[in-house]
């Protein structure tokens, strides 16, 4: 479903702020696969998601989604194939518009928007049904502005909106990071239900080792802009949160070794 081929991206190239965010990322994801992406800070995991979504264009490499080469497509064009939930609970919804209006907007993701009526009675019925399944009593408040909802409720709605039209690819970018533990738990369980229920191909970035161990059927670990570990199948099922933490420690230790070795060599010979 998704093929990433030798993706390179450098920000502020040539300046003191230069960041080599992606250094030759290769990744192929099968349809229906639920992939978790973890990594150290600055490893490029959020950048990777942003690159796939089209927030910026990569310097080199190709991105193919459902057979189409989307490497040069602008973000709004890719949106026809991609559903997205952001880390910021305020980014995925329009605060001054009602829940119903937001859902109506999501129901036309990627489709042309003309002078047809946005919110019909039959749509309202469908909205009420699907919002009821969130179990957050939001179906009674469909005409309330979204700005009045809590972060957890907004993320739940954003998730519902992103998956409304069964996208070819669902991108979850640390979408529970900004929520309190109870809301985060609710949203994670909802995410799992939706991804499994609709068999959506999903890429989820997370900071939580627990989420990474418990969810998904494949785990990709990134460091410094490249993929360093890739677990799937039985190996992924066996992973525990501690195993992942150990992997992080290994990387850190290897890094320190490199750095202290370089320092020592510098002192001795320079």
């Amino acid at each position: 479903m998704l093929e990433l081929n030798r993706l390179y991206k450098t920000f502020s190239a040539g300046t003191p702020n230069e960041v080599r965010a992606l250094r030759g990322v290769d990744l192929t994801i099968d349809p229906g696969s639920f992939v978790i992406v973890i990594g150290t800070n600055g490893s490029g995991k959020s950048t990777l998601l942003n690159a796939v979504a089209g927030g910026f264009l990569v310097d080199s490499g190709t991105i193919r989604l459902d057979g189409a080469d989307i490497t040069a497509w602008p973000e709004h064009r890719r949106a026809a194939l991609i559903g997205r939930v952001f880390q910021n609970p305020f980014s995925g919804t329009a605060p001054s518009m009602s829940i119903a209006e937001n859902l109506a907007l999501a129901a036309r993701r990627g489709r042309p928007r003309g002078l047809g009526w946005a919110l019909t009675r039959s749509m309202r019925g469908e909205f009420r049904d699907r919002v009821r399944r969130l179990n957050m009593r939001l179906e009674e408040r469909l005409d309330n502005p979204i700005g009045s909802l809590s972060g957890g409720q907004r993320q739940a709605l954003t998730l519902l909106m992103a998956s409304w039209l069964k996208p070819k690819l669902l991108l979850l970018d640390e979408h529970t990071a900004a929520l309190d533990p109870k809301s985060a738990d609710q949203v994670i369980r909802l995410s799992d239900d939706i991804v499994r229920g609709d068999k959506l191909t999903t890429l989820m970035v997370t900071h939580s080792m627990q989420q990474a161990a418990q969810m998904g059927d494949r785990l990709v670990m990134m460091h410094r802009g490249a993929v360093i570990h890739d677990f799937h199948g039985a190996e992924k099922q066996r992973l525990r949160a501690d195993d992942l933490l150990n992997r992080f420690e290994e990387v850190r230790r290897a890094e320190q070794l490199d750095e202290s070795a370089a320092e020592m060599l510098r002192r001795l010979y320079v």
Partner: protein
């Protein structure tokens, strides 16, 4: 009475200006100064066409069209060339000053002897009632004044309703979302830049149409007529929101009409009461200042009252 009718009529005509400013300022949070230029553009285009004996309805429609071009230009400067929104509006407004002079050929264009929507309304009322002067609540009103008032009322209602309906369509809701949360709507497949250009085009089209109607009422087009008009539009919206609240788009649109008329009434009464016309713009600015500050003051006083009881 003549004073009131005049104020009402201009207030209703300028409600279209308020609608336009509503789209740019409230929907897109875009401080669009183009309005000062596009209202004059509308007046100039309509005026020149009317002087050339074009049908007034066509001339007014052409004014709308010219306004959409001006608005689209501002939008393109902002989205394609990444020029700051405020600056884009100022650039177009400045350029329009020369454009308007070229269109009119001179700085003032008289229209009293031409066929305009006002003269057509006059003829219509005259034909309908058979009289040149009407009796309204004990006052004498010319058929021209009554006709234009009715025309302005119809225009405000029709355009307001069309705007409301448009904002309830898929395109209209997408446009609102583009102003409210561009990141969200981009992730739902909408080209935000196109929405901005379309929104500004629509906004300035309405503003220019307002100018086109205004010159037909006034009986002349003047190249200076647009100066300070954007503040007028903003004031109408703010007053309207203070009067009817911001809960529903329908309320805001109705509020804009009420605000425009109320504002014009207050100015008319002030002028009658002895206000120096030279001070008019100063008073306008003061009034908008108060309208902006009052809601916050009122909320603060209410809060203090709750705390101290």
């Amino acid at each position: 009475m003549l004073l009131l009718i005049g104020a009402f009529t201009i207030g209703l005509i300028l409600a279209l200006l308020a609608f336009g400013v509503f789209i740019s300022f409230r929907i897109f949070a875009f401080p669009d100064i183009t309005a000062d230029g596009s209202i004059t553009l509308g007046g100039a285009v309509a005026g020149v066409l009317l002087a050339a004996h074009v049908h007034p309805a066509l001339a007014t429609a052409a004014a709308f069209g010219a306004g959409t071009l001006a608005g689209a230009t501002t939008g393109i400067l902002h989205t394609r060339f990444k020029i700051n929104g405020l600056l884009s509006g100022i650039l177009v407004m400045t350029a329009l000053y020369s454009v308007n002079l070229h269109i009119m050929g001179k700085s003032n264009l008289p229209l009293m002897s031409e066929r305009t929507l006002a003269s057509m309304a006059d003829t219509a009322i005259h034909g309908w009632t058979g009289r040149a002067m009407l009796q309204v609540m004990g006052w004498e009103v010319s058929s021209r004044d009554a006709g234009v008032l009715a025309l302005a009322l119809v225009a405000a209602i029709v355009v307001g309703t069309l705007l409301y309906v448009f904002l309830r369509t898929n395109l209209g809701t997408a446009m609102q979302a583009a102003g409210d949360s561009p990141q969200m709507i981009r992730a739902l497949g909408v080209n935000v830049d196109n929405m901005i250009v379309l929104g500004l085009a629509l906004s300035n089209g309405l503003i220019a149409m307002s100018g086109g109607l205004l010159v037909q009422y006034q009986g002349f087009a003047d190249v200076q007529m647009g100066i300070g008009m954007v503040v007028w539009g903003l004031a109408s919206i703010i007053i309207g929101e203070a009067l009817v609240g911001v809960r529903d788009i329908g309320f805001v649109i109705t509020g804009a009409v009420m605000g425009s008329v109320l504002f014009r009434l207050i100015v008319a009464v002030a002028l009658r009461g002895g206000l120096d016309p030279n001070d008019l713009k100063l008073v306008t600015a003061l009034f908008v200042f108060i309208a902006l500050v009052l809601p916050t003051l009122v909320t603060r006083m209410k809060r203090k009252a709750i705390v101290t009881t």
